[in-house]
Amino acid sequence: MKGKLLTGNVAAAAGAMLARVDYVPAYPITPQTEIIETIADWVREGKMDSKFVQLESEHSMLTAAGAASLAGARVFTATSSQGMLYTIEMLYNVSGWRAPLVLANVSRGVAAPIVLEPDHNDVLAARDSGFLQLHSETCQEVTDLVLLAYRVAEDRQVMLPAIVNLDGFYLSFTREPVILPEQKKVDRFLPPYEPVTPLRASKPVSRGSSVFEGFLYSYFRYNQHGAALKAKEVFQKAAEEFEGLFGRGYGPVEGYMLDDADYVIVMSNSFTALGRQAVKRMRERGVKAGLLKLLMVRPFPTEEIISALRGRKVVAVFDQNLAPGSGGILYPEIAGALYHVRGRPNAILPVVGALGGKQTTAKELGAVFDEMITIEREGKTPAPMFLMRGDELTRVKKMISVAEGKS
């Protein structure tokens, strides 16, 4: 079956249309805007039976989204970068409300300085918000993961909102073939949303009530954690059904050339494709290289990571984000997952790269594999790698001298 050429943004909008969402509150931000423009268009042309409304900020957008979900609507919305940061207060509220909406985040580095291309500091700022997080490598995954996200979020054992992440530019504005699932089958996979206790005249409810004692607060928080953990199993079952219906299978993690791999790089989102190339090149050189892709970031797929990485010689975690003063954000999570494991890798190498969408070559990733091999051979403690090429540094220096009026 041949797909239609769609940008990641249109693929996200298509996911929302196929999910027959009732309500789309929106606010523009580059590189997400095409999603809401597409939906606005489809709604006004009568192709999509939803109510679309543009709010005056992302904070309000997510408030409206969560409130509508509590009133019983299936809700889709989208944001990026600064918008994600602006919603943070509401992310925590909406997940605490157990409002199972889906938010597409089009990753873009966060200011300052202002940048348009992707890294994952935006979506990982939502890491602890209680939203489930599914990260896509391709435009096909964007559509599919939106559908899977609704299925998991609305499951009675879960009832949590979900973020589907796609990289700005690399996916958002890149046309890739996407096979759009057949509506009839989607309807079977994703029946209409049945809210548990919606706001209703005949059966009033209080939502977002305060609790003034720590034990009660702890109870609700632990409950949310339990539901988030449960989401993995629910996702796996839903993904099996999805594969049966549509022929495409997904797991919380995905391996590439992992079987006999000694050196494994862990990656997520669109740059994973570059990782695959690098692995192939290393294999051509006779290095037993492999790649592990994280599709699910929340809940954190600890068991899958352990079984994929146990027994490897060296693992590198490629973080396309930076926590200044600490390093990559996912590194400690992966190292933590492996710490107690017998047969854990001899070393875990922290790598930070592709910030603000910095072009990254397969050669740079090759250097990461070379470093892993050196670490194994010499038994040395891994030192964090921050990827930047010499030619890039030369350009920086040139620009500084222009800024200083020297040339």
Binding site: D22, S60, T63, A67, R200, S206
Partner: protein, 327 residues
């Protein structure tokens, strides 16, 4: 203009209550009284959408004094919450997913901190979008729930915890109260009104008028605050009456931009009598009277009523200001 109303005298106050007694608010709270009266007019089918404030703490899991729906959102975005609820109800009814009998009036309820300050952006957005909702602001003229800090609703001359009166700052808060009524009116909200619990019939009629108006509707309820303002809780309603009598709290409405004062005192009581009843203004009188500040407050009230009278064709006898008294 004579319009049909259910409310002729206080005896017409509906006996149904949708808020149970025994909630967690302070004795003499003007805010909860306003919510209670407001609810009587709207009837049972209401979805309240709240931002952080005194009302938030009345909904303490697993208890609620309300017989209607409640959603706490966040400090800055209750009107956006109302947008989500209203839109969801509309789309669910339109798609046949919810019977129209389940529909509700969507009401934002916040204090002045949310209405005048942190929530003004989301309020403006909801007004721009002509959202069909009610906004009830219980205005106690400061951040009451956090212990009485200045808001842009705090009147000139009030001390608050963050604008204390000191030798260097003898007035306390030296900034004039923001005119939220005019902010809403300038944004073409179809109905804007001020309320006082002491003027029940006026209160009931305005809310009734609001129910017949589609679009964004604001009700600013004067909410006497015994703990913040420093007065005996039993005086709460009397104090609101005095605020109206002095003209510092004008009762008025705006219908499609046309303003009308609904209660016009024949002669204003000097504002000094009002200021003296509350601890928050005590620095204006002790250890000695700050005649300049008191006169400034009186002058501003006098100017307001003279201008309003000229516009609407009524005359109010104004108290003399100390400056006028002086030879």
């Amino acid at each position: 203009m004579a319009t049909a109303t259910r409310f002729r005298t206080l005896k017409d106050m509906p006996t149904e209550d949708y808020i149970s007694p025994g909630n967690t608010l302070c004795a003499g709270c003007g805010g909860i009284l306003a919510v209670r009266i407001f609810h009587k007019v709207l009837g049972p089918n209401v979805a309240w959408v709240n931002a952080a404030g005194c009302m938030t703490v009345t909904m303490s899991y697993p208890l609620s004094p309300l017989k209607s729906n409640w959603l706490y959102t966040a400090f800055a975005s209750a009107p956006a919450g109302a947008q989500g609820v209203r839109d969801a109800l509309d789309v669910l009814i339109a798609k046949g997913k919810m019977p129209a009998t389940e529909d509700m009036k969507v009401v934002v309820v916040t204090g002045d901190g949310a209405a005048y300050d942190i929530g003004l952006q989301s309020t403006a957005g909801a007004i721009d979008r002509r959202l069909d909702f009610y906004y009830l602001c219980y205005d106690n003229e400061a951040y009451g729930n956090t212990g009485f800090q200045v808001s842009s609703s705090t009147p000139y001359g009030s001390a608050t915890k963050t604008t204390p009166a000191t030798a260097a700052y003898p007035v306390g808060n030296a900034v004039k109260k923001k005119d939220l009524f005019e902010v809403w009116r300038s944004m073409k909200a179809p109905y804007v009104a001020t309320l006082a619990n002491s003027h029940g019939v006026d209160f009931l009629r305005k809310v009734e008028k609001g129910t017949g108006t589609r679009g964004p509707k604001l009700f600013i309820a004067f909410a006497a605050c015994p703990t913040g303002w420093g007065f005996d809780p039993r005086e709460s309603v009397e104090l609101e009456k005095l605020a109206v009598a002095t003209g510092i709290w004008p009762l008025k409405e705006s219908v499609d931009g046309v303003v009308r004062h609904t209660v016009v005192p024949r002669a204003l009581t000097p504002v000094r009598d009002y200021l003296k009843t509350q601890e928050r203004f005590s620095h204006l009188f002790e250890p000695e009277e700050n005649a300049g500040a008191v006169a400034a407050i009186q002058e501003s009230i006098n100017r307001y009523w003279a201008e309003a009278g000229a516009r609407e064709g009524f005359q109010v006898k104004l108290p003399e200001t100390p400056a006028e008294k002086a030879p």
